[in-house]
């Protein structure tokens, strides 16, 4: 194996593999290509050495190739930024150091925003705080993303006005609304805020499947960072409380009225900054998390199905069980959506895709049972706000799950382009979620106001 040509090709391989965004399979393919060049040149009378040099030269600079591959492979904005996107794009985005300070400034703004309700009502906040949680937490994040990506006036105005409108809608109905409306609104306003944050991230690419997928990936990784920061923050608050207790002071006001809102608001922006700045860390973690939790949830589904069937009365589920069903269905859709973002673009179906299909099939069965129950409840007791909300949600989930299941069957049969179809379907559903959330927040409370 001391063939000098082989050694040179190995070196060339190792060098190309070191570039981010170039997978091992890509290098295999290019190696075959390089050897094709070398063979043709050798046949034309060049020595091994000469042929290698000319072939490498023909293949073009590794940097250029790596960038082209990264652009297609990863479809990730950050890699293009890291690799030095040419031209106008990079000039608008300030460099690393500046962006840290701006992120911290937005984080401070986010913290102050989270505490704003406490200043406005000094006697203490009640459950209505939950109504505004989404906009309070995410407005600074949206602001930071808009500053970072500069998506143009249309998207900027839509995202900011949308956020203000979501908060206003929550505020309009809150005082007059029933307790039920309070809960449904508090659950659906964050959905609107989440979609607006994705719009701010995707910018003008929000119409494209890839752009939406990037945004979904961003929010998924943002959640992972939020959980990690939240754990650290919780420990910090505990230690502060303990230290104050030891010193004979009551720290609860400080911890809950200052540390918690300021910390949470700040962490939201810092998490958004971390997703982009420390991307490669989470990029390795998200697929692992997906692979750990998808099988676990599939098992949880099976157990829940058994519980539902064992209850004997499939058409008469208790209200609590029905709610559990819905929560777990939403988790199923979330898993499918976020698993897509962690999926390797090349390669055929794996065991993991079969587990996903099992998960979705179980969810579909559960959703059918839930729907039957909701319809029976409506038949027995008439229309109420809660029942309409649950019915709409279940119908939305049923359509989504049915199409997802059929696409996963195609994926498992290795049908060409099936993964892309699934991405298009899942990201195409996002506006539908927004539309339904808007109906729940803006229309239904008025309809059911007694």
């Amino acid at each position: 194996m001391s063939d000098p040509l082989e050694i040179q090709i190995d070196l060339w391989r190792a060098h190309l593999e070191a570039h981010p965004g170039v997978a091992a399979a890509d290098v295999d393919e290019l190696e075959d290509h390089l050897r094709g060049h070398i063979e043709a040149l050798s046949a034309a009378g060049l020595s091994d050495d000469e042929a290698f040099l000319v072939a490498v030269k023909r293949l073009g600079s590794q940097r250029d190739i790596a960038r082209e591959f990264a652009r297609e492979n990863s479809r990730r904005l950050w890699k293009q930024l890291v690799l030095g996107e040419e031209g106008s794009r990079s000039s608008g985005v300030p460099g690393g150091r500046a962006s840290v300070w701006v992120a911290l400034a937005f984080a401070a703004a986010g913290g102050l925003l989270m505490r704003l309700p406490l200043w406005l009502s000094p006697e203490g906040v009640d459950t209505t705080y939950a109504l505004f949680l989404g906009p309070l937490l995410l407005t600074a994040v949206v602001g930071y993303l808009l500053w970072r990506h500069r998506p143009g006036a249309g998207v900027t105005a839509t995202a900011l006005a949308g956020m203000a409108a979501a908060a206003a809608l929550a505020g309009v109905y809150a005082p007059a609304a029933s307790d039920d409306a309070l809960v449904t609104t508090a659950l659906h306003v964050p959905v609107l805020a989440w979609l607006l944050a994705m719009l701010a991230y995707a910018g003008t690419r929000w119409r494209e499947t890839d752009g939406r997928m990037d945004a979904v990936r961003f929010t998924g990784e943002w959640v992972i960072y939020m959980v990690l920061l939240g754990l650290g923050g919780g420990v910090l608050m505990g230690i502060v409380a303990l230290a104050c207790q030891a010193a004979g002071l009551d720290a609860s006001t400080f911890v809950f009225e200052w540390m918690l809102p300021l910390g949470a608001g700040g962490a939201a922006v810092v998490a958004a900054w971390l997703v982009e700045a420390k991307q490669s860390v989470i990029e390795n973690m998200a697929p692992v998390l997906a692979r750990v939790f998808t099988p676990l949830f599939a098992v949880a589904f099976a157990i829940l199905l058994v519980v539902v069937l064992a209850s004997g009365d499939i058409a008469g589920l208790s209200r609590d069980l029905l709610l559990v069903c819905n929560v777990i269905l939403i988790i199923a859709i979330g898993l499918v959506l976020y698993n897509l973002t962690a999926r390797e673009s090349d390669g055929g179906p794996t065991w993991f895709d079969r587990v996903q299909l099992a998960l979705v099939a179980g969810a579909l069965a559960l959703d059918a049972v839930a729907l039957v129950n909701v319809v029976i409840r409506i038949g027995d007791g008439g229309w109420t706000l809660n029942r309409v909300v649950i019915l709409g949600l279940n119908l939305l989930l049923l359509v989504n799950l049915a199409v997802t299941a059929s696409l996963l069957v195609r994926l498992n049969r290795a049908a060409p382009g099936a993964a892309h179809r699934l991405e298009r379907w899942q990201t195409g559903m996002l506006p539908a979620y927004g539309a339904w959330a808007l109906v729940v927040v803006a229309v239904l409370p008025a309809v059911f106001a007694s």
């Binding site: 295999d28 290019l30 293949l59 190739i65 082209e68 060409p416």
Partner: protein, 118 residues
């Protein structure tokens, strides 16, 4: 002749689909075929071809499998799918329309001097 980048980019996908409609092929051979079909006027870079192949595969117009070359090397072969065949048909009618319109326009034009359309 120097073909502008935009024109090369626009014609790249129909070109690859057309070549694969002749039969399964692999990267190096596809580049050779492009040169052959264009009498050496089109010289694609690898940085253009491979990402394009991967994109077409992702959207399901072509599919790939690992096989072996004549010398026993690992080689990735690409084949047209039925979606790809349909996409190619669309490309063909679009390009024919454009080409026919240009031909019509040039048919009535006088190209004096060194410029000849022959």
């Amino acid at each position: 002749m120097d073909i502008p980048k935009d024109l090369v980019a626009a014609s790249a996908a129909p070109m690859v689909l057309s070549i694969l409609s002749e039969g399964d092929s692999y990267g190096y051979a596809i580049l050779g075929r492009v040169r052959e079909l264009s009498d050496g006027e089109l010289d694609w870079t690898e940085g253009l071809l491979y990402p394009l192949l991967h994109r077409l595969e992702r959207i399901g117009h072509i599919e790939s499998r690992w096989g072996q070359s004549e010398t026993g090397r690992r080689r990735k072969y690409y084949a047209l799918t039925s979606d790809g065949r349909a996409a190619l048909a669309t490309h063909v009618s679009q390009w024919r329309t454009v080409a026919a319109a240009l031909e019509n326009a040039w048919g009535r034009m006088e190209f004096g001097g060194p410029v000849s359309l022959a």
